[in-house]
Protein backbone atom coordinates (compact mmCIF):
# COMPACT_ATOMS: atom_id res chain seq x y z
CA UNK A 1 0.00 0.00 0.00
CA UNK A 2 1.39 3.47 -0.88
CA UNK A 3 2.03 6.11 1.78
CA UNK A 4 -0.90 8.18 0.49
CA UNK A 5 -3.27 5.25 0.76
CA UNK A 6 -1.97 4.39 4.23
CA UNK A 7 -2.49 7.99 5.37
CA UNK A 8 -6.00 8.06 3.92
CA UNK A 9 -6.74 4.78 5.71
CA UNK A 10 -5.61 6.31 9.02
CA UNK A 11 -7.87 9.34 8.42
CA UNK A 12 -10.80 7.02 7.68
CA UNK A 13 -10.23 4.80 10.71
CA UNK A 14 -9.77 7.65 13.19
CA UNK A 15 -12.79 9.49 11.79
CA UNK A 16 -15.02 6.41 12.02
CA UNK A 17 -13.95 5.83 15.63
CA UNK A 18 -14.44 9.43 16.72
CA UNK A 19 -17.84 9.81 15.02
CA UNK A 20 -19.04 6.61 16.66
CA UNK A 21 -17.68 7.23 20.15
CA UNK A 22 -18.34 10.96 20.39
CA UNK A 23 -21.52 11.40 18.37
CA UNK A 24 -23.00 7.90 17.87
CA UNK A 25 -22.88 8.36 14.10
CA UNK A 26 -21.97 5.13 12.33
CA UNK A 27 -20.47 4.20 8.95
CA UNK A 28 -22.90 3.91 6.03
CA UNK A 29 -23.63 0.39 4.91
CA UNK A 30 -23.65 1.04 1.16
CA UNK A 31 -21.58 3.09 -1.25
CA UNK A 32 -22.52 6.73 -1.79
CA UNK A 33 -21.31 9.23 -4.35
CA UNK A 34 -19.74 12.44 -3.11
CA UNK A 35 -22.13 15.29 -3.91
CA UNK A 36 -20.07 18.45 -4.44
CA UNK A 37 -23.26 20.56 -4.58
CA UNK A 38 -24.30 19.58 -1.04
CA UNK A 39 -24.21 22.54 1.36
CA UNK A 40 -21.40 22.01 3.86
CA UNK A 41 -20.21 23.62 7.07
CA UNK A 42 -16.45 23.53 7.54
CA UNK A 43 -14.23 23.63 10.61
CA UNK A 44 -10.45 23.84 10.69
CA UNK A 45 -8.02 23.07 13.50
CA UNK A 46 -4.46 24.39 13.31
CA UNK A 47 -1.61 22.71 15.19
CA UNK A 48 2.07 23.42 15.70
CA UNK A 49 4.90 21.58 17.38
CA UNK A 50 6.59 18.45 16.02
CA UNK A 51 4.77 19.23 12.77
CA UNK A 52 2.85 22.35 11.73
CA UNK A 53 -0.39 22.25 9.81
CA UNK A 54 -4.06 21.65 10.27
CA UNK A 55 -7.09 19.59 9.50
CA UNK A 56 -10.21 20.65 7.64
CA UNK A 57 -13.48 18.90 8.41
CA UNK A 58 -16.46 19.55 6.11
CA UNK A 59 -19.87 18.18 7.08
CA UNK A 60 -23.21 18.39 5.26
CA UNK A 61 -24.94 21.27 7.07
CA UNK A 62 -28.04 19.13 7.51
CA UNK A 63 -25.97 16.75 9.69
CA UNK A 64 -25.20 19.40 12.31
CA UNK A 65 -28.51 19.13 14.16
CA UNK A 66 -28.17 15.36 14.68
CA UNK A 67 -24.51 15.74 15.55
CA UNK A 68 -25.19 18.27 18.32
CA UNK A 69 -28.26 16.39 19.58
CA UNK A 70 -26.27 13.17 19.89
CA UNK A 71 -23.28 14.80 21.55
CA UNK A 72 -25.42 16.67 24.06
CA UNK A 73 -27.97 13.93 24.61
CA UNK A 74 -30.89 16.12 23.54
CA UNK A 75 -34.21 14.71 22.40
CA UNK A 76 -36.58 15.88 19.64
CA UNK A 77 -38.47 18.19 21.99
CA UNK A 78 -35.37 20.29 22.61
CA UNK A 79 -33.41 20.69 19.38
CA UNK A 80 -29.94 22.22 19.64
CA UNK A 81 -29.52 25.93 19.02
CA UNK A 82 -27.49 27.07 15.98
CA UNK A 83 -24.71 28.04 18.41
CA UNK A 84 -24.68 24.54 19.93
CA UNK A 85 -24.57 23.00 16.44
CA UNK A 86 -21.51 25.03 15.49
CA UNK A 87 -19.85 24.39 18.86
CA UNK A 88 -20.46 20.64 18.45
CA UNK A 89 -18.76 20.68 15.05
CA UNK A 90 -15.78 22.55 16.52
CA UNK A 91 -15.46 20.08 19.40
CA UNK A 92 -15.67 17.16 16.97
CA UNK A 93 -12.91 18.70 14.82
CA UNK A 94 -10.80 19.25 17.94
CA UNK A 95 -11.17 15.61 19.06
CA UNK A 96 -10.47 14.37 15.53
CA UNK A 97 -7.28 16.40 15.31
CA UNK A 98 -6.11 15.28 18.75
CA UNK A 99 -6.64 11.62 17.89
CA UNK A 100 -5.24 11.85 14.38
CA UNK A 101 -1.80 13.27 15.22
CA UNK A 102 -0.57 10.41 17.48
CA UNK A 103 -2.15 7.87 15.12
CA UNK A 104 0.04 9.22 12.29
CA UNK A 105 3.18 10.46 14.04
CA UNK A 106 3.31 8.33 17.20
CA UNK A 107 2.77 9.04 20.91
CA UNK A 108 6.01 10.93 21.65
CA UNK A 109 5.49 14.07 19.52
CA UNK A 110 4.05 17.12 21.28
CA UNK A 111 1.70 19.61 19.64
CA UNK A 112 -0.06 22.82 20.53
CA UNK A 113 -3.55 22.57 19.11
CA UNK A 114 -5.34 25.88 18.51
CA UNK A 115 -9.04 26.48 19.11
CA UNK A 116 -11.13 25.23 16.16
CA UNK A 117 -12.29 27.73 13.56
CA UNK A 118 -15.42 27.82 11.40
CA UNK A 119 -14.50 28.70 7.81
CA UNK A 120 -16.67 30.84 5.58
CA UNK A 121 -18.61 29.05 2.87
CA UNK A 122 -16.25 28.40 -0.06
CA UNK A 123 -15.13 25.57 -2.34
CA UNK A 124 -13.04 22.88 -0.59
CA UNK A 125 -9.84 23.76 -2.47
CA UNK A 126 -10.15 27.38 -1.30
CA UNK A 127 -10.22 26.15 2.31
CA UNK A 128 -7.15 23.99 1.72
CA UNK A 129 -5.36 26.94 0.09
CA UNK A 130 -6.21 29.19 3.03
CA UNK A 131 -4.95 26.69 5.61
CA UNK A 132 -1.75 25.95 3.68
CA UNK A 133 -0.96 29.67 3.32
CA UNK A 134 -1.63 30.26 6.99
CA UNK A 135 0.45 27.35 8.28
CA UNK A 136 3.12 26.92 5.58
CA UNK A 137 1.84 23.37 5.05
CA UNK A 138 0.83 21.33 2.02
CA UNK A 139 -2.08 18.95 1.58
CA UNK A 140 -0.96 15.50 2.77
CA UNK A 141 -4.18 13.48 2.65
CA UNK A 142 -7.88 13.77 1.92
CA UNK A 143 -10.51 11.22 2.86
CA UNK A 144 -14.22 11.00 2.08
CA UNK A 145 -15.83 9.46 5.16
CA UNK A 146 -19.05 7.65 4.24
CA UNK A 147 -21.36 7.90 7.26
CA UNK A 148 -24.98 6.91 7.73
CA UNK A 149 -26.00 10.59 7.85
CA UNK A 150 -23.96 11.73 4.86
CA UNK A 151 -20.51 12.08 3.35
CA UNK A 152 -17.91 13.94 5.42
CA UNK A 153 -14.65 15.24 3.98
CA UNK A 154 -11.48 15.29 6.09
CA UNK A 155 -8.28 16.90 4.83
CA UNK A 156 -4.87 16.90 6.52
CA UNK A 157 -2.29 19.57 5.70
CA UNK A 158 1.22 19.19 7.10
CA UNK A 159 4.45 21.16 6.82
CA UNK A 160 7.74 21.51 8.62
CA UNK A 161 7.72 22.57 12.30
CA UNK A 162 9.72 25.75 11.68
CA UNK A 163 7.61 26.94 8.75
CA UNK A 164 4.57 27.91 10.79
CA UNK A 165 3.20 31.24 9.61
CA UNK A 166 2.02 33.63 12.30
CA UNK A 167 -1.24 32.34 13.71
CA UNK A 168 -3.60 35.09 14.78
Amino acid sequence: MSNDLQLNAVLNNVAFEVFQELAFIFPAEGERDHDPACERTTSAVIFEGAHAGGIILALPTQMLCALASNMLGLDETAPPTPEQQVDALKELANVLCGNLLPAIYGPEAEYRVHSPLILASAPADAHVGYLCRRTGAAQAANAKINLELGMVELTLCVGQPDRMAKVG
Binding site: V18, E21, L22, A68, M71, L72, G73, Q84, D87, A88, K90, E91, N94, V95, C97, G98, N99, L101, P102, A103, P107, E108, A109, E110, Y111, R112, V113, H114, S115
Partner: protein, 128 residues
Protein backbone atom coordinates in the same frame (compact mmCIF):
# COMPACT_ATOMS: atom_id res chain seq x y z
CA UNK B 1 -20.83 12.88 50.28
CA UNK B 2 -21.75 15.05 47.30
CA UNK B 3 -18.87 16.31 45.15
CA UNK B 4 -18.64 19.93 44.09
CA UNK B 5 -17.06 19.85 40.64
CA UNK B 6 -15.39 22.51 38.50
CA UNK B 7 -15.34 21.84 34.74
CA UNK B 8 -12.88 23.95 32.72
CA UNK B 9 -13.02 23.84 28.92
CA UNK B 10 -13.27 26.56 26.26
CA UNK B 11 -16.00 24.61 24.47
CA UNK B 12 -19.50 24.93 26.00
CA UNK B 13 -20.50 21.69 24.27
CA UNK B 14 -17.48 19.87 25.77
CA UNK B 15 -18.39 21.18 29.24
CA UNK B 16 -21.98 20.01 28.79
CA UNK B 17 -20.79 16.58 27.66
CA UNK B 18 -18.51 16.25 30.68
CA UNK B 19 -21.27 17.27 33.10
CA UNK B 20 -23.73 14.90 31.43
CA UNK B 21 -21.17 12.09 31.65
CA UNK B 22 -20.61 12.80 35.35
CA UNK B 23 -24.38 12.65 35.96
CA UNK B 24 -24.69 9.42 33.92
CA UNK B 25 -21.85 7.82 35.85
CA UNK B 26 -23.96 7.82 39.01
CA UNK B 27 -21.51 9.90 41.06
CA UNK B 28 -23.13 12.01 43.79
CA UNK B 29 -22.80 15.54 42.43
CA UNK B 30 -23.23 18.68 44.46
CA UNK B 31 -22.71 22.02 42.78
CA UNK B 32 -21.17 22.07 39.31
CA UNK B 33 -19.17 25.16 38.34
CA UNK B 34 -17.97 25.97 34.82
CA UNK B 35 -15.10 28.02 33.41
CA UNK B 36 -13.94 28.75 29.86
CA UNK B 37 -10.17 28.84 30.50
CA UNK B 38 -7.59 28.32 33.24
CA UNK B 39 -7.75 31.89 34.48
CA UNK B 40 -11.52 31.71 34.93
CA UNK B 41 -11.00 28.30 36.54
CA UNK B 42 -8.65 29.73 39.18
CA UNK B 43 -11.15 32.52 39.87
CA UNK B 44 -13.90 29.93 40.35
CA UNK B 45 -11.66 28.03 42.79
CA UNK B 46 -11.11 31.18 44.82
CA UNK B 47 -14.83 31.85 45.08
CA UNK B 48 -16.20 28.34 45.68
CA UNK B 49 -15.53 25.14 47.58
CA UNK B 50 -14.52 22.60 44.95
CA UNK B 51 -13.78 18.87 45.56
CA UNK B 52 -12.74 17.91 42.04
CA UNK B 53 -11.50 19.73 38.92
CA UNK B 54 -11.87 18.49 35.35
CA UNK B 55 -9.77 20.56 32.97
CA UNK B 56 -8.95 20.57 29.25
CA UNK B 57 -5.38 21.30 28.06
CA UNK B 58 -5.68 23.48 24.95
CA UNK B 59 -7.51 26.66 25.89
CA UNK B 60 -6.97 30.36 25.15
CA UNK B 61 -5.67 32.84 27.79
CA UNK B 62 -4.50 30.15 30.24
CA UNK B 63 -4.20 26.50 29.23
CA UNK B 64 -4.77 23.45 31.41
CA UNK B 65 -1.07 22.83 32.13
CA UNK B 66 -0.64 26.40 33.37
CA UNK B 67 -3.75 26.12 35.50
CA UNK B 68 -2.54 22.83 36.98
CA UNK B 69 0.81 24.41 37.91
CA UNK B 70 -0.97 27.34 39.57
CA UNK B 71 -3.20 24.94 41.51
CA UNK B 72 -0.24 22.89 42.72
CA UNK B 73 1.67 26.03 43.76
CA UNK B 74 -1.18 27.21 46.00
CA UNK B 75 -1.02 25.60 49.48
CA UNK B 76 -4.85 25.62 49.63
CA UNK B 77 -5.21 23.52 46.49
CA UNK B 78 -1.98 21.50 46.27
CA UNK B 79 -3.80 18.23 47.06
CA UNK B 80 -6.99 19.03 45.11
CA UNK B 81 -7.95 16.11 42.81
CA UNK B 82 -7.52 17.20 39.19
CA UNK B 83 -8.45 15.21 36.09
CA UNK B 84 -7.15 16.43 32.75
CA UNK B 85 -9.73 15.62 30.07
CA UNK B 86 -8.20 16.11 26.65
CA UNK B 87 -7.53 14.76 23.19
CA UNK B 88 -3.83 14.88 24.10
CA UNK B 89 -1.91 12.01 22.53
CA UNK B 90 1.66 12.87 23.60
CA UNK B 91 2.88 10.44 26.24
CA UNK B 92 5.57 12.97 27.18
CA UNK B 93 2.99 15.59 28.08
CA UNK B 94 0.68 13.08 29.78
CA UNK B 95 3.59 11.92 31.98
CA UNK B 96 4.37 15.55 32.81
CA UNK B 97 0.75 16.09 33.90
CA UNK B 98 0.83 12.90 35.97
CA UNK B 99 4.03 14.06 37.67
CA UNK B 100 2.06 17.13 38.78
CA UNK B 101 -0.47 14.84 40.43
CA UNK B 102 -3.19 14.95 37.76
CA UNK B 103 -5.08 11.98 36.35
CA UNK B 104 -5.80 11.80 32.64
CA UNK B 105 -8.93 10.96 30.63
CA UNK B 106 -8.65 10.81 26.87
CA UNK B 107 -11.41 12.26 24.67
CA UNK B 108 -13.69 10.69 23.58
CA UNK B 109 -14.53 9.15 26.95
CA UNK B 110 -17.24 6.97 28.47
CA UNK B 111 -19.10 7.41 31.79
CA UNK B 112 -17.45 4.20 33.05
CA UNK B 113 -13.94 5.57 32.55
CA UNK B 114 -14.75 8.90 34.19
CA UNK B 115 -16.52 7.19 37.06
CA UNK B 116 -13.65 4.80 37.80
CA UNK B 117 -11.07 7.60 37.80
CA UNK B 118 -13.19 9.82 40.04
CA UNK B 119 -13.63 6.90 42.42
CA UNK B 120 -9.89 6.25 42.42
CA UNK B 121 -9.12 9.92 43.13
CA UNK B 122 -11.80 10.79 45.66
CA UNK B 123 -12.96 7.49 47.11
CA UNK B 124 -16.54 8.57 46.36
CA UNK B 125 -18.60 5.68 44.98
CA UNK B 126 -21.69 5.61 42.75
CA UNK B 127 -25.11 6.46 44.11
CA UNK B 128 -27.35 3.36 43.99
Amino acid sequence: MALNVLVVDDSAVARSMMIRTLRMSGLPLGEVFQAGNGQEGLAALEQNWVDLVLVDINMPIMDGEQMLSAVRNNPLWKDLPVIVVSTEGSQTRIERLRSEGASFVHKPFTPEIVSSIVLELTGVAHEQ
